[in-house]
Amino acid sequence: MPNVRTRPAAPPVDAPAAGPSLPARAAEDLRAIRSSMERASLFTAVPGHGGMLMGLVGLTGAVLASRQADSGAWLRVWLGTAAIGVVVGLCAFAHTARATGQSLLSPTGRRFLLALLPPLIVGGALTAVLPGRGLSSALPGIWLLCYGASTITCGLLSLPLVPVMGVGFMLLGAAALALPPAAGDACMAAGFGGLQLLFGWLIARRHLAAGEAP
């Protein structure tokens, strides 16, 4: 049994006091408890510099894809870019998780991955079907929307910056669907290049400010 001291009895709550009243202090404690429990359930090992690297891969893919004459070659360039982006992303996540003492396989890491996957699976399924039906031009909008949805869902279990980035992707996805197909690569460059670079930098800055690996 621990030797725990208890506080001396407090004066009556309606007596004048210098600090906050007991109920106010209790409400403040409750807020602190809720906030600590929420933050402990978050997966914060989101890579900053790794995200920027993914942005550079996305920008390179957009430049290469915009130079392709036929839709088959265009699709292959983007699929190759996505494959490289996934490998870079996974390595960056694993590195940041190791550096911050977290793990992608911990319960929080697994929940993060599970939240990330469903919209990406939807995107993959549509990518397999739409080109065969002559709807390749809809893919940039769908990819941006799915990636944005995925970023928002996993971001709810992570740093507050992550879902904000997801909203940006979804807005770009909606724009890509509304604009003429020729604007698809520009929207992809803005999303998978620009947004990824910008938020990667912001996340790296946040990690550095907290004394963590960026």
Partner: protein, 119 residues
């Protein structure tokens, strides 16, 4: 005032009594801001590493070490040191006594808040 409200009012002890009683029972180890944050975080997760706690609660190494030790000394938190590959890893977990103390603390806070509600 309705009969139900009158009845509820009659059942609720005066704030000064409940507050005085609850405050008199508040656990001094958990009551500190940092210790309360550590115990709350560990109540939400089965176990947390030093780095995870530090990152989630935005604490410095020194601050976390001092308060984690205080909770260990009270028997509320257990600490296990090991290695994750070659990297040293310190893992904290709430003990059954720590969980009970946390639940008691929440009960006291709830009692205070309930008693302070008008009506």
């Amino acid at each position: 005032m309705t009969a139900a409200r009158k009845h509820r009012r009659a059942e609720t002890p005066p704030l000064r009594l409940v507050a005085g009683e609850a405050a008199g029972q508040l656990d001094d180890v958990i009551h500190g801001r940092v210790c309360l944050a550590i115990v709350s975080a560990l109540a939400a997760r089965d176990n947390l590493s030093f780095a995870e706690l530090k990152s989630a609660l935005q604490l410095t190494d020194g601050n976390l070490s001092v308060h984690a030790r205080k909770l260990e000394d009270a028997g509320y938190v257990s600490c296990r040191k090991g290695f994750d590959g070659r990297v040293p890893r310190t893992e904290y977990r709430l003990t059954p006594s720590g969980r009970r103390a946390f639940e008691r603390y929440l009960g006291h806070i709830e009692a205070l808040l309930r008693a302070s509600r008008p009506g």
